[in-house]
C-alpha cells in the first residue's frame, strides 16, 4: 500500500501544474458539452493534444501524443485539471468510443482518415445505435442497409442520438444480412450526416433540453468501403465500443466534487443542525469515501494489467445511483427554493437551484443510457458472478 506518486508521476504532476499556471486562463468554462465546441474550445483541445493531456496514448501517426499506456499518468492529469477547475478536453462519443474502436478494429485508411480529426475536435460524431423498438435488446434493430451498386442504402430510424443535430459524422449499426441470426446480421458503418435522406428531429427530455435526437433515414446511400471490419461483424464492433463507454461513467472525481458542493449548500442553508439532514449527508460522505477507495483499487489493477472483473462491472450501476442520491439530497436541502426552474439556455450559466435540478433529472437519464441499470444488474450477475443466463423464451 503506497499512495504516494513515483518520481515519474511527480514530475508529470509538476509539468501539468506548470501548464495550468501558464495556460489555465485560456480554458473554456466547465460544463456545456451539449453544443458544438466553439473556437475557444477547439483551440484549447488542440493545445491539450499537443501537450499530451488528451489522446495521450494515441499513436503519433494518427495525431496523438504516442505515450505508452499508463493509467496512473491519466489519473494524475485528470486530478490536476479537476483540482484546478480547468476544462480537461472534449468528451464526446467520437473521442471516447469511435477512436478506441477504430484503433482496435479499423483499417489503416480509416485510422488515417478519422482519428486525428476526431481527437482535435474538427470532426464531431454521433452514435446511431438505439431504435424505438431496439433499446436494451439492441441486437433486434431493424434499420436496413441494402447493398446496391457499391452503396449500402439505409432506411429506418434511430433514437436517443446525442449531438446528431450538429455532428459531422455518424457511426451506425444497421441490418445488412437479414437472413442471418440476429447478432450476425448487423454491420457497423461510418457516414456523413450531410448525406441526402437524413432527417434529424430534436427530442426534448425531462430536463427541458433537447439532449437527444431522432434520426430518420430514407434511401441514404453509404459507400460500401465505409464499413468497419466487414459485413455481419457490427455486433462485435459495437461491443468493442460499448466496453469503452461503460468505463467512462461513474468517476470518483465527479462524486467528490458533488459531495463538496452539497456540503457547502447544506452549510449555507443551516441544515447541518437538523439531525436527519445531517445523517443523510454523513451517510453519503461514507459512500463517497468507499467509492473513491474502490476507484483507487481499480486504478491500481488497471496499472498492473489485471482484469478487475465484477469490481469494474459495478461502476455504472453503483455510480449512477450514488450520483442520484447526492443530487436528491441537494434538492431536498433546497426545499421550495429548489422549485423555480428556469434554465437560462444551453450556453448560459444557470442558478444553483436549476443546476442541481438538471443534475438530478439528468442522472435519471444516466441510469438508463448506455445499458440501463436493470441490464447492468444482469451483466453484473451473469458475467461478474457467473449466475445462469435467463432461459430463452420461445419466439411468439
Amino acid at each position: 500500500m503506497d499512495l504516494s506518486l513515483s518520481d515519474k508521476h511527480l514530475s508529470l504532476q509538476e509539468e501539468v501544474r506548470g501548464f495550468i499556471r501558464e495556460h489555465g486562463h485560456e480554458s473554456p468554462k466547465l460544463g456545456g458539452g451539449r453544443k458544438r465546441p466553439d473556437r475557444k474550445a477547439l483551440d484549447w483541445q488542440k493545445l491539450l493534444v499537443d501537450h499530451g493531456y488528451v489522446a495521450r496514448t494515441i499513436p503519433r501517426e494518427y495525431g496523438g501524443y504516442g505515450a505508452e499506456p499508463d493509467v496512473m499518468e491519466a489519473a494524475v492529469i485528470a486530478a490536476e485539471f479537476a483540482g484546478a477547475g480547468i476544462y480537461a478536453g472534449l468528451t464526446n462519443q467520437g473521442i471516447s468510443m469511435l477512436v478506441p474502436t477504430l484503433l482496435e478494429v479499423g483499417t489503416e485508411t480509416q485510422k488515417q482518415q478519422w482519428i486525428e480529426q476526431t481527437i482535435r475536435g474538427d470532426v464531431i460524431w454521433c452514435q446511431g445505435y438505439s431504435e424505438p423498438g431496439a433499446g436494451s435488446d439492441l441486437a433486434s434493430l431493424t434499420t436496413r442497409g441494402v447493398l446496391q451498386d457499391g452503396h449500402f442504402v439505409i432506411n429506418g430510424q434511430k433514437i436517443w442520438t446525442s449531438s446528431a443535430h450538429y455532428a459531422d459524422m455518424m457511426f451506425l449499426l444497421c441490418r445488412t444480412e437479414p437472413d442471418q441470426p440476429k447478432h450476425d446480421g448487423i454491420s457497423y458503418l461510418l457516414l456523413s450526416m450531410q448525406t441526402p435522406g437524413i432527417e434529424v428531429r430534436p427530442l426534448r427530455t425531462m430536463t427541458g433540453r433537447a439532449e437527444f435526437n431522432e434520426v430518420f433515414f430514407t434511401d441514404v446511400r453509404v459507400p460500401e468501403d465505409q464499413i468497419v471490419l466487414g459485413r455481419g461483424k457490427g455486433w462485435y464492433v459495437a461491443n468493442v465500443t460499448l466496453k469503452h463507454e461503460r468505463s467512462m461513467i461513474g468517476s470518483a472525481e465527479k462524486m467528490t466534487t458533488r459531495l463538496e458542493q452539497l456540503i457547502t449548500l447544506m452549510k449555507e442553508r443551516g441544515l447541518l443542525g437538523m439531525a436527519e439532514y445531517r445523517d443523510r449527508l454523513l451517510k453519503l460522505q461514507g459512500e463517497v469515501i468507499a467509492w473513491k477507495a474502490h476507484n483507487l483499487r481499480l486504478l491500481t489493477e488497471a496499472a498492473q494489467g489485471v482484469d478487475s472483473g465484477v469490481k469494474r462491472m459495478i461502476i455504472k450501476y453503483g455510480g449512477t445511483m450514488l450520483g442520484f442520491r447526492l443530487a436528491s439530497l441537494a434538492i431536498d436541502a433546497l426545499g421550495t427554493d429548489g422549485l423555480p426552474f428556469e434554465s437560462a439556455g444551453e450556453d448560459a450559466e444557470d442558478d444553483d437551484a436549476t443546476t442541481w435540478n438538471i443534475d438530478y433529472l439528468y442522472d435519471v437519464g444516466l441510469m438508463i443510457g448506455g445499458g440501463s441499470n436493470n441490464i447492468q444488474k444482469n451483466i453484473i450477475s451473469e458475467r461478474g458472478l457467473d449466475l445462469p443466463r435467463e432461459p430463452k423464451v420461445a419466439r411468439v
Binding site: 454523513l282 491500481t300 453503483g318 444488474k377 450477475s381 458472478l385 445462469p388
Partner: protein, 345 residues
C-alpha cells in the same frame, strides 16, 4: 501509487486462511458456541504459533511490527471464519494502547508478553473507574484494559476484578460486565494527549471490527451465491431467476467497495493522520449498515434453510450484529464524524 495488498500481506493472509480452514469447522463452532467465552485455547495456541498476537508489537519487543492494515487483513479472515479469538480488543486495541500511550518501561514489561500470547486483554470504557458494561474480548482474559473518559488507561489483572460474562447474541464473542473494588491498577502513561491516544486506540478497534464484518458478510455472500447456483425449483436453478440475480448484483455493488474502504481506513490509521479519524468512523458506520443488508439478503437467498440452526449461517449473521453495536453503532459513529468536522456541537 499502489492501492493493493503487498506480496507479504497476501502470503500472511494465505497462512492465516489455511490455519483457520483447518481449525475452525462448523462443528467446532457449534461446540464452542455453548461455552460462549469466545475463547478456544487450542486455536489461540495456533494463532500464537503464527505470531498473530505480536502483529502490531514493534520488532524490538518481539513482535512483527506491522500496522492496522495488516490487522484489518487478519480481521477479515477471522470474521470470515467466525473464529473464536480475542482480536479487536485484545490483540489490536491493547497493543496499540501500549505502543502509543505507555512509557518505555511499561512497554518493555508488557509488549513482549503480548507478542508471546501470554496475556490477553478485555477492553472497556468506564465512566468512573468502578465498572464497565459490555467489555470486548473479556470472555477469558488475563487482564483488563480500562479507559476513563479523560483518556486515562488502566490495566487491572483479571483476578482482581469481578466479572459477569453474558453469552451474547454472537456466541463467538461474549460481552462482559466488570466491577472493580479497590483493585490495584497500573496506569499507562500517555503523557502527551491521553485523549488523542484513546481515540487512536478506539478508532483502530473500529476499523478492525469493520474488517471483521467485511469478512463475515463476504462469507455469507459466497455461501448464498453457491447455494443459488445449485438449488433447483420450478425445474430451474434459482440463481437463473432475475429477481434473485438482481439481488446478488445489489449485494456485490454494496459489498465490493467496502473492501477498498476498509483498506483505506486501516492504511489511514498507519499513514494518513489527517484522514484517520474520519475514515475510521465512516468505515465503522458504513460496514455496519452494509453488513446488516448483506446478512439479511444472504439469509433470505437460502430460503427456509437459511433460517435454521442446521445450516449455521446465523453465526455470521449474529457476528455482524455484534460488530455493528460494539464500539459505537452507525448513528453514534456518524454523529462523532459530524462533531469532528464541526457540523454539530
Amino acid at each position: 501509487m499502489e492501492f493493493a495488498l503487498s506480496e507479504e500481506q497476501r502470503l500472511f493472509a494465505d497462512s492465516l486462511r489455511g490455519l483457520l480452514a483447518d481449525r475452525v469447522s462448523i462443528d467446532a463452532l457449534r461446540r464452542h458456541a455453548d461455552g460462549g467465552t469466545g475463547f478456544d485455547a487450542a486455536l489461540w495456541d495456533s494463532l500464537v504459533e503464527l505470531g498473530l498476537p505480536g502483529l502490531l508489537v514493534p520488532e524490538r519487543f518481539g513482535g512483527a511490527g506491522l500496522g492496522v492494515l495488516d490487522a484489518a487483513v487478519a480481521a477479515e479472515l477471522l470474521g470470515g471464519a467466525a473464529a473464536f479469538a480475542p482480536f479487536a480488543g485484545s490483540i489490536v486495541m491493547a497493543t496499540l494502547a501500549f505502543v502509543h500511550g505507555a512509557t518505555e518501561a511499561l512497554q518493555d514489561a508488557w509488549l513482549p508478553r503480548i507478542a508471546a500470547g501470554e496475556v490477553r486483554f478485555g477492553v472497556g470504557f468506564s465512566q468512573n473507574g468502578g465498572q464497565i458494561t459490555a467489555a470486548i474480548d473479556a470472555g477469558a482474559p488475563t487482564h483488563l484494559l480500562v479507559y476513563l473518559p479523560d483518556g486515562t488507561a488502566l490495566v487491572v489483572a483479571a483476578e482482581h476484578a469481578s466479572m459477569r460474562m453474558h453469552r451474547s447474541i454472537d456466541r463467538t464473542r461474549p460481552v462482559t460486565d466488570v466491577r472493580f473494588d479497590q483493585a490495584r491498577a497500573v496506569v499507562l502513561d500517555a503523557a502527551n494527549a491521553p485523549l488523542a491516544t484513546m481515540q487512536r486506540v478506539l478508532d483502530a478497534g473500529r476499523v478492525v471490527l469493520a474488517a471483521d464484518t467485511l469478512g463475515a458478510a463476504q462469507h455469507m455472500f459466497d455461501q448464498a451465491l453457491a447455494f443459488v447456483k445449485q438449488r433447483v425449483q420450478f425445474n430451474r436453478v434459482i440463481g437463473s431467476f432475475q429477481a434473485v440475480k438482481h439481488q446478488f448484483a445489489d449485494m456485490v455493488t454494496m459489498l465490493e467497495p467496502c473492501r477498498a474502504m476498509v483498506w483505506y481506513a486501516a492504511y489511514a490509521q498507519d499513514a494518513l493522520p489527517d484522514e484517520a479519524r474520519l475514515t475510521a468512523l465512516q468505515t465503522k458506520a458504513h460496514l455496519g449498515d452494509v453488513g446488516r443488508d448483506i446478512a439479511r439478503m444472504a439469509t433470505e437467498a437460502h430460503g427456509g434453510m437459511g433460517f435454521t440452526d442446521l445450516l449455521g449461517l446465523h453465526y455470521w449473521f449474529k457476528r455482524i450484529s455484534f460488530n455493528r453495536q460494539m464500539l459505537g453503532g452507525p448513528e453514534h459513529c456518524r454523529e462523532e464524524a459530524a462533531r469532528l468536522q464541526g457540523w454539530t456541537a
